[in-house]
C-alpha cells in the first residue's frame, strides 16, 4: 500500500501531510506536525495522554486513523491560544502543582477544557468523571481536581471561556 496525501485542519491551520497507511492521528500530530504536547502513552485508549479535541469533542488520537478525520477541526494543547500564552486553565494547573512529571498534563488540560466547555460550573464529582479517562501516576489526582475547580471559579468570575 502506498503513502497518501491527506488534509487536516489542526489548531486553525490547514495542513497537507503525507501519511503511511493506517497512520494514527497521534502519529501525524507528533511526527509530521511536531505538536509534541500530544503524548504517546499506552496506545490502547487507557491513559488519555494523547487526548485532543475533534470538533470540540474529547477524543483519543492514538485510536483515530488520520485519514478518517476528514474535515473535522483538531485542537491540541498548542492550539489553546494563538500566541502560545498560558491560558487560565493552564495557570490553574501551575498554581495548584497539578503536574509533576508532566506526561499526563497536556491530556488532562484537554480533558478539563472539554469538560468546562460543556459544563462551566462542574461539581467535584463531575470533574472526577470528566477526567476519569486520564491517568496520572504522580500527583494522586487531588491537585488536578483542585486546579480544575479553581479554573472553573476563575471563569465564572471573569465570564471568560476555558481558554
Amino acid at each position: 500500500m502506498e503513502d497518501k496525501l491527506i488534509r487536516l485542519a489542526v489548531n486553525g491551520r490547514d495542513e497537507a501531510v503525507v501519511i503511511q497507511p493506517l497512520a494514527t492521528l497521534q502519529d501525524v500530530l507528533r511526527d509530521k506536525l511536531e505538536l509534541n504536547a500530544v503524548k504517546s502513552g499506552c496506545g490502547q485508549g487507557g491513559c488519555g495522554s494523547c487526548s485532543v479535541l475533534v470538533d470540540g469533542e474529547l477524543q483519543l488520537s492514538c485510536l483515530t486513523l488520520a485519514e478518517r478525520v476528514g474535515d473535522a477541526e483538531v485542537t491540541t494543547l498548542e492550539g489553546l491560544n494563538e500566541t502560545n500564552a498560558i491560558v487560565p486553565l493552564q495557570q490553574a494547573f501551575i498554581e495548584n502543582y497539578a503536574a509533576q512529571c508532566g506526561y499526563c498534563t497536556a491530556g488532562m488540560v484537554m480533558a478539563a477544557k472539554a469538560l468546562l466547555d460543556r459544563n462551566p460550573a462542574p461539581s467535584r464529582d463531575e470533574i472526577v468523571e470528566g477526567l476519569s479517562g486520564n491517568l496520572c501516576r504522580c500527583t494522586g489526582f487531588a491537585p488536578i481536581v483542585r486546579a480544575v475547580q479553581q479554573a472553573a471559579q476563575a471563569l465564572s468570575d471573569t465570564g471568560e471561556e476555558a481558554s
Binding site: M1, L60, T64, R68, A111, S132
Partner: protein, 271 residues
C-alpha cells in the same frame, strides 16, 4: 498490513463483508479494534463512517439508533435512565465520544457493558447482508455466539428500541468507579400489574461467555410482589445458573457471588 476500505453505501459494505468473510473486520469507533490491529496483520478493515449510521431517529413509540452512534450521542438522544447509566460505565469521556453502540455489542468480556441494558429493554438488531436486511431480537443474536465470539451476521446497521413500559435498573460491579472493565454487569426490567410482577427481563454480562438473559432469575420473580423473599430467590437462582470465567479482573467464584448480589440490588431498586 490490513487495508482500510471505506464503502460509501450499506449495500457495498455488506458485499465487502460477505466477500472477505473472516478476513474483514468492521471498524466503527476504533476503541477496541484499533488496539488489536497491528501492521503485521493482513486482511481488511471496513470503515463504517460513510454509511450514515451515526444518527438516532425518534419514531412513534421508540427510537432507531444507528449502529455507529457514539455512546455520548446515545446518552443525549435516548432518555432511558438505565441506558444512560450504561453509557457512563464504559471508558472515560473520550472513549464514550468515540465508541459506538454497535461496536460495543461485539465487545468481548470483560467489556461490552451496553448489552445487558439492551437485553433488558428488549432491543431488536437490524443487519444488512448481501441477501438483504434481517432483524432479530438481541437475545437471539447472543444465543448465536460460540466460544464468546460473534457469528457471521453481516453488518449491524441499527438498533430498534421501544420506549420501556416498565421500570429498568442497571448496575455494574467493577474494581474502580470509572473507566474500568466489569466484574459483572446487570440490568433488570419488570412489568407489574398492581403489585405483582407479570413479566421480567434480567440480563447479565460477565456471567457467561457472552451477554445473556437469566431465565432462572426471571422465573423467580414473575408472579411475586418483588418482596425480599422473591429477590433473595432470584439472586440465589442466578448464582446457580451462571458460568462465569476467571480473568485478571475477577475469579469465577467472585463473579458468581457478585452476579447474585447485583441481581438482588437491581431488583430491590425496582421493588
Amino acid at each position: 498490513m490490513p487495508e482500510l476500505l471505506r464503502p460509501g453505501s450499506i449495500d457495498e459494505a455488506a458485499d465487502l463483508i460477505a466477500r472477505h468473510g473472516a478476513a474483514a473486520a468492521v471498524l466503527a469507533g476504533g476503541t477496541s479494534l484499533m488496539r488489536e490491529t497491528y501492521p503485521s496483520d493482513g486482511g481488511y478493515l471496513i470503515g463504517v463512517d460513510r454509511l450514515g449510521l451515526d444518527r438516532v431517529v425518534a419514531r412513534d413509540g421508540g427510537w432507531s439508533v444507528g449502529a455507529a452512534v457514539s455512546l455520548s450521542v446515545l446518552r443525549e438522544a435516548v432518555p432511558i435512565a438505565a441506558l444512560q447509566a450504561a453509557t457512563r460505565e464504559i471508558g472515560g469521556p473520550a472513549v464514550q465520544n468515540m465508541a459506538t453502540v454497535g461496536g460495543n455489542l461485539f465487545a468481548r468480556a470483560p467489556f461490552g457493558d451496553l448489552a445487558p441494558a439492551l437485553l433488558a429493554l428488549g432491543a431488536q438488531l437490524v443487519f444488512a447482508t448481501a441477501d438483504g436486511e434481517t432483524t432479530q431480537p438481541i437475545e437471539d443474536f447472543y444465543a448465536g455466539w460460540a466460544d464468546g465470539a460473534p457469528p457471521s451476521t453481516g453488518l449491524l446497521t441499527r438498533i430498534e428500541l421501544d420506549a420501556p413500559s416498565g421500570d429498568c435498573a442497571y448496575l455494574k460491579c467493577a474494581r474502580r468507579r470509572y473507566s474500568t472493565p466489569s466484574v459483572v454487569t446487570v440490568a433488570a426490567s419488570v412489568q407489574k400489574d398492581g403489585g405483582t410482577v407479570t413479566d421480567a427481563r434480567i440480563a447479565l454480562s460477565g456471567a457467561h461467555a457472552q451477554p445473556t438473559r437469566c431465565a432462572a432469575a426471571e422465573q423467580a420473580v414473575i408472579g411475586s410482589s418483588l418482596d425480599e423473599a422473591a429477590i433473595a430467590a432470584a439472586a440465589s437462582a442466578t448464582e446457580g445458573a451462571v458460568e462465569p470465567r476467571t480473568d485478571a479482573v475477577a475469579s469465577d467464584w467472585y463473579r458468581r457471588r457478585m452476579t447474585g448480589v447485583f441481581v438482588g440490588r437491581a431488583l430491590a431498586a425496582l421493588a
